[in-house]
């Protein structure tokens, strides 16, 4: 039983507001990814949960117990620091064994768990080295191994795979997922890699300027963003937004008929891949500025109805800069936002 309840936590650094009343429940064994632009307060939130930073207001519960005033050591968690914080004066082995030693585990136990964590993160060859002699990615893996080795009830990870190559990251992601699921570890995971968030998380919490603006299942966040910000932030390319003025629950964009859920100045949101390319007179008009072959697909950047739009086309499509096309978004995957507030108009999920 080690869910995390973050209740209206606020944090000011001097005058600056870093966290503005953040509330988030992470159920026992759940994996929540924190996603948000650089500087939005992810690290700060993690540090407050860990007890490394004093909160200005609010409370943090772990496993139902109010830990707001507990020392980090007593909160029963482990953490991967954004800048690793591996102990320079200990070998990799001692680094990984650190948490276990603090728990006074028997020797063989430590040995075994360290080896397992090291194997998982492929740092076995370096167990006797000092961190100064490791590459950046190796150091980062030491930091992750150190946190995994203690098999904590609650695990906080701050961009733990940011310095790994794609392949390794993919592997690590899979390993993490199975290890954490098996151990039923409650995890709060900061990442800027959306695929990582999508692939790993039970839920994704999107932060913006010190606030959590949406916390939902990955697919929901992806396809039903709670605001233009989320839509624009999650997914690559980001969700496209085209200005539409509706009256009588109906609007027209070039050759396209739409049925918005409200009237007034709206934004039509759609994903670049949720769109059909049609002849120019059969959808909204899209003028291609750049066509980038991206291997698995062709990325078209251009504009429609005066708004920048990016569209994913099959790699085989023959589209060139300057072409005019028609776009026909999948009506089931359209998101409607208010132009004023930027918030989604229908309250799904």
């Amino acid at each position: 039983m080690a869910g995390i309840q973050i209740e209206r936590v606020g944090k000011r650094f001097g005058g600056a507001l870093a966290l503005d009343s953040v509330s988030l429940d992470v159920a026992d064994g759940e994996f929540v990814a924190l996603l948000g632009p650089s500087g939005c307060g992810k690290t700060t939130l993690l540090r407050i949960v860990a007890g490394l930073e004093t909160r200005s207001s609010g409370a943090v519960r772990i496993g139902g117990r109010d830990v707001s005033d507990l020392r980090p050591a007593d909160r029963g968690l482990a953490m991967v620091f954004q800048n690793y914080a591996v102990f320079p004066h200990m070998t990799v082995f001692d680094n990984v064994a650190f948490g276990l030693r603090m728990q006074k585990k028997p020797r063989e136990d430590i040995e075994r768990k360290v080896r397992r964590a090291a194997a998982l993160l492929q740092i076995e060859p370096y167990l006797d080295r000092y961190p100064a002699k490791l590459s950046g990615g190796q150091r980062q893996r030491v930091a992750v191994a150190r946190a995994l080795a203690v098999e904590p009830a609650v695990l906080l990870m701050d961009e733990p795979l940011s310095n790994l190559d794609a392949l390794l990251r993919l592997e690590m992601r899979a390993e993490l997922k199975s290890v954490l699921r098996e151990a039923k570890t409650t995890t709060l995971y900061v990442t800027h890699d959306q695929t990582e968030a999508m692939g790993l998380a039970d839920r994704i919490a999107v932060m913006q300027q010190g606030r959590i603006v949406q916390a939902d299942a990955p697919t929901t966040v992806y396809s039903r963003p709670a605001s233009t910000f989320v839509g624009g932030f999650v997914g690559s390319p980001p969700m496209n937004f085209v200005k539409v003025t509706a009256s009588g629950r109906s609007a027209r964009l070039d050759a396209l008929d739409l049925r918005p859920p409200a009237d007034g100045d709206l934004l039509l949101g759609f994903r670049g891949e949720d769109v059909q390319l049609v002849p120019p007179d059969e959808g909204m008009t899209f003028v291609v500025k750049v066509a980038e072959p991206m291997g698995s697909h062709l990325l078209l950047t251009g504009s429609a109805a005066g708004c920048p739009v990016r569209v994913v086309a099959p790699p085989t499509a023959s589209v060139h800069a300057g072409d005019r096309l028609g776009l026909r978004p999948d009506p089931d995957r359209i998101a409607w936002m208010s132009q004023d507030s930027g918030l989604a108009l229908d309250g799904h999920a």
Partner: protein
């Protein structure tokens, strides 16, 4: 994490209590003694006597001159040595060891060896003599040769006490990640500039400690000065000793001691202020 307010106090308490238990009573007694008029209400009698003494102004001048010359040279020298040690790839612990040997040399031995070097029939003169620059023993260390005397004392002090600064700086250097000066070099800083702009500021806390330490000690110097210069170079603490022991006047000695203390503390306050570091600028 929330730091309970009492923690720092608990941490300094042992040291504070220890010093208080050991020193406060004697210290206060001595300070009071310096203001004791010997039954008369003239509480500044001792200070007047001190200020009126033949050697007072000389001692003040000499002490400040000595501190003013020795401490900066020592800091610069120790800094140079510490940098050399940083750059050394092999044998640096042995070199450091050699450079710190003078730490283990007592005042007496240091005075002795420098006297043996610089006196009339000393080693320096022997060398000069053998080079044909001198025709016999020549005095360098008396009132008639104040400049060489001063230089001699400065050399001896530098020899004897630079190592203290050195070990503090060497220890400080260990904590500066190499990456900062590397970055500076990549961005076009020459060694000296990188040193000035990166290493020095990051080393500031250690420099501060070393300077305070060295200055306080330098204000208390006298053994070597007296070994080389005899009565030609009165210095403050030497005068305090003389009043305490030769002249058996504890009041005036206490006045001198209070003066030395005030000067040292003033210097310390200056260092603390001038070399303060904002916590957020630490790595």
């Amino acid at each position: 994490m929330t730091a309970p307010r009492w923690i720092p106090y608990a941490l300094i308490a042992p040291a504070a209590l220890f010093l208080a238990a050991l020193f406060i009573v004697p210290l206060v007694q001595t300070i009071l003694l310096s203001f004791d008029g010997g039954g008369t209400p003239d509480h500044l009698a001792n200070y007047r006597k001190m200020a009126g003494d033949l050697n007072f102004t000389l001692a003040i001048r000499n002490t400040f001159l000595l501190v003013g010359v020795v401490v900066p040279i020592q800091l610069a020298l120790a800094m140079g040595m510490a940098v050399m040690l940083q750059k050394m790839s092999t044998g640096r612990d042995i070199v450091l060891w050699i450079w710190t040997i003078p730490l283990g040399v007592s005042d007496l031995a240091a005075g002795l060896v420098w006297l043996a070097l610089l006196q009339n029939s000393g080693y320096l003169n022997t060398v000069l003599f053998q080079l044909g620059l001198l025709d016999g023993p020549t005095p360098w260390l008396n009132a008639e040769t104040p400049v060489t005397l001063f230089v001699g004392i400065v050399l001896a002090e530098i020899w004897r006490a630079t190592a203290v600064v050195l070990i503090v700086l060497v220890a400080g250097f260990q904590l500066i990640p190499k990456e900062y000066s590397e970055a500076a070099e990549v961005f076009g800083a020459r060694s000296w500039t990188a040193f000035r702009l990166i290493t020095l500021p990051l080393l500031k806390p250690s420099i501060q400690s070393a300077l305070i330490l060295r200055t306080v000690l330098a204000f208390e110097v006298f053994a070597v000065v007296y070994a080389l210069g005899g009565r030609n170079m009165p210095v403050l603490v030497g005068e305090a000793y003389a009043w305490q022991y030769e002249n058996q006047n504890y009041g005036v000695a206490a006045a001198y001691a209070v003066l030395v203390m005030v000067i040292s503390l003033a210097a310390t306050v200056v260092y603390l202020y001038a070399l303060r570091t904002r916590p957020e600028t630490q790595p």
